[in-house]
């Protein structure tokens, strides 16, 4: 039982990270109907920017952890957002209206490019960081097994909830959110009633990228180990989460992320750690067979 609860906590933390990445996939898919293959790389870039920002802050002498975390969070979000914006501007915008496979291939090209770009600039070796925040609460103790929730896990979960609330407000209440939902339904009609479609799409990418950057920061401080290749697997898993939750739906993406995180944590704990990725992808296939629209998705209707 204790072991189960511990894994539940670990899984939820992991799931929060996947959920944040998945939201980027789901928003972009909702608005332009393509898989932003380079999204995983944006997350990886977010992790690198956070890592570098921590090192620079350390060198400058800012060591008060809450302040450092806040500054790094903002830096990572801003710089990754610029990357997200540039990716859209360079690789996707010229391809609006092209055959459906073209933007996907250009996205794969972008993903390979960014991966190697970071590898060449920062080296292929794994980067490791000292744990920033240690300690936590002990929730229960039984038969010598303790269930703990670390401050870091609390930080990750709380930050995720806060960001969710902020983004739900942005999408539900602001003009930008309305424009996004309008573009999602009908891009031509939205442009006819005065919505700047290109700008709205750009901002969608910026929002997705900044959320991915937060996930990157969380991974950096949670695991403390990053390399240029982390975006690939995390990207597919987050996409799986987005599909599982129902692509195009924001709460679905978060829910899917949490489920994927839980599956991964429990599979590693009770079965085998080597095959955890296999378990996650098998879930993707199973979901697609039995409920292709995902848990919260709406069925898509093709019109002639």
């Amino acid at each position: 039982m204790e072991y189960f609860i511990q894994q539940l906590i670990n899984g939820l933390t992991l799931g929060a990270i996947y959920g944040l990445i998945a939201i980027g996939y789901t928003m972009v898919y909702g608005i332009i109907g393509m898989i932003n293959f380079a999204h995983g790389e944006i997350y990886m870039i977010g992790a690198f920017v956070s890592f570098i920002a921590f090192l620079v802050l350390g060198a400058v002498g800012i060591t008060y952890i809450p302040l450092a975390l806040l500054v790094v969070l903002l830096l990572a979000m801003v710089f990754s957002a610029i990357y997200g914006w540039s990716v859209e501007r360079i690789a996707y915008r010229p391809l609006r209206g092209a055959p459906r496979l073209s933007p996907l291939i250009s996205a794969i090209g972008m993903s390979i490019f960014l991966q190697n770009y970071v590898q060449i600039l920062q080296g292929a070796r794994v980067k490791a960081m000292q744990p920033l925040i240690s300690g936590g609460f002990t929730l229960m103790e039984h038969d010598g097994f303790t269930v703990t929730i670390s401050y870091l896990q609390i930080f990750i979960i709380v930050l995720t909830i806060v960001l969710m609330a902020v983004f739900a407000t942005v999408i539900g209440k602001t003009a930008l959110g309305r424009a996004q939902r309008a573009c999602e339904q009908d891009r031509v009609m939205a442009s006819l009633v005065g919505v700047n479609v290109d700008r709205t799409i750009s901002l969608t990418f910026v929002m997705g990228a900044s959320l991915a950057a937060v996930a990157g920061l969380m991974v950096t401080i949670y695991y403390g180990v990053i390399d240029f290749y982390i975006g690939f697997l995390a990207g597919i898993k987050a996409f799986t989460a987005a599909v599982l939750g129902g692509i195009g739906s924001m709460p679905g993406a978060m829910l899917g992320g949490l489920l994927i995180g839980l599956v991964e944590a429990f599979w590693s704990a009770y079965f085998s750690i080597e095959y955890k990725d296999v378990a996650v992808f098998s879930i993707l296939v199973l979901v697609l067979i039995f409920r292709p629209t995902g848990i919260l998705g709406k069925p898509e209707v093709d019109k002639v």
Binding site: P94, L101, S102, A128, Y275, V278, L288, V304
Partner: protein, 439 residues
Amino acid sequence: MSEAQQSIRTETFNIPAALKDAFLTAFVMGALALPLAGFRIGEQGGAFFAEQRMDWVLIAVVAGFIGRFFLSLARVSLAPRIAPPAGAFFGGIGSWLHTNMVLMSGLAIIAAVILPFLPFTDRLILDRAIYMLIYVMLGWGLNIVVGLAGLLDLGYVAFYAVGAYSYALLSTHFELSFWICLPLAGLFAAGFGVILGFPVLRLRGDYLAIVTLGFGEIIRVILLNWYTVTNGPDGISGIARPSLFGLMEFTRNPKEGVVAFHEFFNIPFSGEHRMVFLYFLILALALITNFFTLRMRKLPVGRAWEALREDEIACRSLGINPTNVKLSAFAIGAMFAGFAGSFFATRQGFVSPESFTFIESAIILAIVVLGGMGSQIGVVIASFVLVLGPEFIRELQEYRMLAFGGLMVLIMMWRPRGLLAYRDPTIRLWPVKSKGARK
């Protein structure tokens, strides 16, 4: 007259707007470069520190400014004169290749057949040619899936791996010969294609892309971790080399009861004999793939593939079962990957999960896409450029994948249907009026 034209065009070049664009680009370039190029994570004695590299940021800013400014300049003054002819040039090559297909492919096949006997051909050239032909074959196989049926398969390498490992396992455990394993490997790969394709082919194309990607990873993870069968990351070595249809062997001291190639023909032993044989083997396999595809396009199922690519709803209305048609394309594509895989295993004599990463899938896909989806000759040209190109420029090895990704983006921007895309409908209802008119 051209001068007059030029002066008109320079007038329309809006310098303030171009400068504004250039400044913006320079700013964005600076922001992009600042965190990742401006600092480098250094390591000393296990501790990491950030190393400043602000000159790189400066270079990026200046390059962004100049690049953007000249791009705006070129867009106004050069692009109207260069881009359409250049586009027409590649399109023209595509259509020219298309109209002279028989002649060109005949010449290419003759050149390929006599290559091993040319005086300048040595081991290295043969080895490179074999290497390239594997990619040509994989490209042709994937072309069935991506080019003809329009299904985006990002895990093609998984079927290649299935083929390679099935030959490796069958030959090391049961000592079956290459010629028995080859069809079996194709069969296994096709079987995997059916198992994977059946659930996911009913779905929309993008889902297929991600599921095949996941499947590629699953196969790799299994190959890495299932020690008892695949020997994990160490791979399987000592895989039997192919014999001449079981009649002769290409070894100095053949097994009991088998004649060696050099003994039979009474020529001195040379390692090159096997190379030449492998070369012809892969050439034949690749040509079979190509010939098969060309014939399939004329059969109802091949027509259905292309029709499905163009409009799925129309196909459904006409009573074509999309799932079965897609499944056949998927399985046949997988089968050829299986053949190529078992050839790969016999050529290397060694297989390990290292050879079957996502990058391989991406390279094969890039070959198909850059060559122009659906174009058979485009695959040959693209594999020549993408596979052999980097081999000759060793110094650029580090930047190979970077350029590769960038190239994929640029070519998609410029010619979204592929570099040599010239897609003629296989059949027409009415004859074309002007010859060479492009769609």
